[in-house]
């Protein structure tokens, strides 16, 4: 018999069911969690992340008076990398969950382009929508949303992520509500040798403390052959080389590059994917451990639902595991981030150089084979760079892994330049020693997975 039943705060002001969509209602039972949940609208900048508020004139297209700062203005090279793709028109820093729906509705990527309903899956509270469109069948609802246009789909949205997106209303246990993740994690487990994985049945709560986030904070694509179905590219594994292999096999591309004509795959916010390759994940440290660290509320320990940058209070987010002063911890993170920026910049300059050199080579009439090979390298360089650029920890979630990804991007840019000078794909392959070492690594990795 457990001790903890004694002094419960009263949790039964209202009864919660699987159609209690409104977080305010849940808030009556759990006022502390609700209060901090509402605070995701606060905007506080850190050295690199956090959120930088920018005032703006409301227009008909975009009624927001305050937005998050633009990443395109901060780094115009992005417009070159994404030339011809909506991201080159509007791309801002992430801010709190409270804004997820409005920021999507009013981004020029939506107002100036046609987008499918698929977008909505990560920007609104979905259980209600899936129920409604699928007549109580989540998977049917998922297919239905994906089949709509964004304008149609968004009509069904009542607000950003809510309690029911992460919690089972009867038991309050964490639950996965997104079919894309249910499918994706099953693919990943299968790649790791575990068949028939059902995340809501098989995951521990400690795992769920990251999985609930991984419903959205992941690299994804829309599978055109499956009605724009939201898909996570994990069936080869979740190392970037495996994701790249997946896309190569699948043939998926997102856009044709305006300057070079290369076919490009776009990467988006792979926080979960990178974290999973880092030392914190290896040590069992979850997203919630750092981004929803426990806080004291009266005589109770509560999970902080104001999900934001852990650097805003390292004492709370890092302090139980790392006894260092806040200054020391922030300095450690910023050292990692500054180093990341230097490597990222070198990589980015290299990609820009490649893009313009391909452009020049096309003008100079260099032969098609060379141009095509250079374009393939551009795609790889672009995807690998984008993968860590669009991840939002600025190198922190897996410092040396992230650096190694940049290295692969840089290597592809270099090879692209050499392709333009007439080197063939064969000549540009890794040396025999490098290949032998890769195989040796491969063996260790697969042995470790067994």
């Amino acid at each position: 018999e457990r001790k903890n039943e004694a002094a419960q705060p009263s949790h039964n002001v209202v009864e919660l069911t699987d159609t209690t969509y409104d977080p305010a209602v849940w808030g009556q039972n759990y006022p502390q969690q609700y209060e901090t949940y509402l605070q995701t609208d606060e905007m506080v900048p850190t050295r690199y992340a956090g959120a930088h508020a920018v005032e703006q004139e409301p227009t008909e297209d975009d009624p927001r008076t305050e937005a998050s700062s633009s990443r395109l203005e901060e780094d115009p090279r992005l417009e070159i990398m994404w030339a011809g793709y909506p991201f080159s028109v509007d791309y801002t820093h992430a801010r709190g969950h409270e804004y997820m729906l409005v920021d999507q509705m009013y981004t020029q990527r939506v107002t100036d382009f046609n987008q499918p309903g698929t977008c909505l899956n990560c920007h609104a509270s979905m259980p209600e929508i899936y129920n409604e469109l699928g007549d109580g069948d989540m998977n049917a609802g998922f297919d239905a949303v994906n089949a709509l246009s964004y304008e149609e789909a968004v009509e069904h949205a009542s607000g950003p992520i809510a309690c029911i997106d992460c919690h089972n209303p009867e038991t309050m246990e964490l639950q996965i509500t997104r079919p894309a993740f249910i499918n994706g994690i099953a693919d990943l487990k299968a790649a790791e040798g575990i068949e028939d994985y059902d995340v809501n049945r098989d995951a521990t709560t400690d795992e769920m403390r990251s999985y609930v986030c991984a419903q959205c904070h992941v690299e994804y694509y829309f599978d055109g052959d499956a009605g724009n179905r939201l898909t996570f590219p994990w069936s080869e594994g979740i190392h970037i080389d495996e994701i790249w292999e997946y896309y190569q096999k699948d043939g998926h591309i997102d856009f044709t590059h305006e300057i070079t004509g290369a076919e490009i795959v776009k990467a988006q916010h792979p926080e979960f994917d990178l974290w999973r390759n880092g030392v914190h994940a290896d040590a069992g440290v979850s997203c919630a451990d750092c981004h929803m660290a426990y806080d004291r509320a009266g005589a109770q320990k509560v999970t902080d639902h104001q999900i934001n940058s852990p650097l805003l209070d390292t004492n709370q987010s890092c302090g139980t595991c790392h006894s260092d002063d806040s200054d020391v911890l922030v300095n450690r993170v910023e050292t990692i981030q500054d180093r990341f920026i230097v490597s990222r910049d070198q990589t980015f300059d290299a990609l820009v150089s490649l893009i313009y050199n391909i452009e020049a080579a096309i003008e100079d009439g260099v032969d098609d084979e060379a141009i095509d090979l250079a374009r393939e390298y551009q795609n790889k360089a672009s995807f690998y760079l984008d993968y860590v650029y669009s991840e939002n920890s600025y190198g922190f979630h897996a410092p040396d892994y992230i650096q190694s990804i940049l290295m692969s991007s840089m290597d592809a840019s270099r090879n692209g330049e050499l392709a333009l000078t007439g080197k063939t794909a064969e000549e540009l392959e890794p040396s025999d020693i490098s290949q032998a070492n890769l195989e040796r690594n491969e063996q260790r990795r697969s042995a470790a997975n067994e």
Partner: protein, 175 residues
């Protein structure tokens, strides 16, 4: 000492906790001694060390009792620097709080292995807690802090409790 009230398994630690918690199980020391002694007697070496190391001390709750073995010195030192020095003894964290039979067994089991390994010197430089003992400790945390954690545990399935040492590894022994 003996006249102090024994905190039973069903009681909550009170505000005046520290002084009283020190004494839990005190009343059962004699029984414990017998159990361990009998167990240990089957193995000559173990019981030799047990006596040599003042085995009776092992059964008391004074941390110094545990640190009769130099193998425990570092942990006593860490404990003395740690946050629980004034509120919990070694046994508060390393003995089960829920039932006597189990705690007798854990104590005999540990007493036996400690003595044997100590005598043979066959233990690592940095001792690693066994999973079964880590569970015992985790339950000890919940025993004292259950109230504070009730809201957090409520949303978890039975048997899926928080692993306290993932975040609070050093509360017992500062490094």
């Amino acid at each position: 000492m003996a006249e102090e009230e024994t905190v039973t398994a069903t009681e909550q630690p009170s505000e005046a906790g520290p002084a009283r918690q020190r004494t839990w199980l005190r009343g059962k020391n004699v029984l414990l001694f017998l159990a361990v002694f009998v167990f240990g007697s089957f193995i000559g070496v173990g019981s030799f060390t047990f006596l040599y190391a003042n085995g009776i001390g092992y059964l008391y709750d004074e941390p110094e009792g545990c640190a009769q073995c130099h193998a425990m010195d570092d942990y006593l030192e860490g404990y003395n620097k740690g946050s629980h020095k004034d509120v919990a003894t070694c046994n508060d964290c390393h003995m089960p709080h829920d039932n006597l039979a189990k705690s007798l067994w854990v104590k005999a089991d540990n007493g036996f292995w400690h003595a044997l390994k100590f005598t043979t010197g066959d233990y690592p430089t940095n001792i690693e807690i066994r999973e079964s003992n880590r569970q015992v400790t985790n339950e000890a945390c919940v025993y004292c802090h259950g109230d504070y954690l009730s809201g957090v545990h409520e949303v978890r399935a039975e048997g899926d409790e928080l692993d306290c040492t993932r975040c609070h590894e050093t509360v017992g022994h500062a490094k």
